[in-house]
Symmetry: C2
Subunit: 158 residues, 2 copies
């Protein structure tokens, strides 16, 4: 179940994914009023954020979509964001964020395929670890993806 099912493909997010991505994300949390042009501006910003000291154009923000090939529909979306630290000799940490699977595409293991893809991307970018925060009810899913409990997420909301 690590490989993408027949009829689906995975690639970096693009402008034409606007409707499908905002729909999928609205199953995770509040998306709010996000226009196509704001969406495009964020993708353009993400494209400019490069990791330091490399010549391969490796980026900090890596957002992928799983697309149903026949229709072009967005079935899942997620990000691995790479943070540059001082610790671990100037190490990199991958943060998996904003994972959403469109309910129409449940039961195809697309969530697991997406997490495996983002984790592998974090590894290939040189991260010493990849982390994420989730609800207690999703711990079992992430364990099946190779993750273990590491700590407590704390928040303050503005």
């Amino acid at each position: 179940t690590n490989s993408i099912p027949a009829g689906f493909e995975i690639r970096r997010i693009e402008s034409r994914d606007y409707a499908g991505v905002t729909t999928a994300l609205s199953g995770l949390t509040t998306v709010g009023d996000l226009s196509q042009s704001q969406f495009d501006d964020i993708l353009a910003y993400w494209d400019t954020q490069l990791l330091p000291g490399r010549t391969d154009g490796a980026r900090s923000y890596n957002t992928s979509v799983i697309i149903e090939s026949a229709t072009g529909r967005v079935s899942a979306v997620g990000t691995v964001f790479v943070e540059k630290k001082l610790i671990h000799a100037g190490g990199l940490v991958g943060h998996i964020e904003d994972i959403a699977v469109n309910p129409d595409f449940r039961g195809k293991q697309l969530g697991k395929v997406l997490i495996n893809h983002l984790s592998a991307q974090g590894a290939s970018l040189g991260c010493y670890k990849v982390i994420l925060d989730c609800d207690e009810k999703n711990v079992g899913f992430y364990e099946k993806c190779g993750y273990s409990r590491a700590g407590v997420e704390m928040q303050v909301r503005m």
Copy 2:
């Protein structure tokens, strides 16, 4: 206890903080072999990473040190990193990272002063929330800083 104690000041990290910052961080985790010049390169990289669509030069990586004014010694260090998202109408999330207090300066509430500073910085940069991951044993400290439990941190190590 929200204000900085007499004899201390707080400011953005600088090149001359190398020894004090690496010493403080080695109390948190592995720092490894990090030379002065690698340290400087990371600070220079952090300086280049700007938030999108603003004219105030607001940065993604905001690392602060608390300095003992009389000696210039680093008593504490920590970061609030700002992530640009699609959700929450293109919202910003602050990630507090790599908090360390030099053991010589314990008992002065510097940890709380630092967290309050970083949280306020996240708010003033426009974050809709600030989050962090910590050990179960530090939950009480972060609660005193105004944080609440939000979820489970999961990790995979490479």
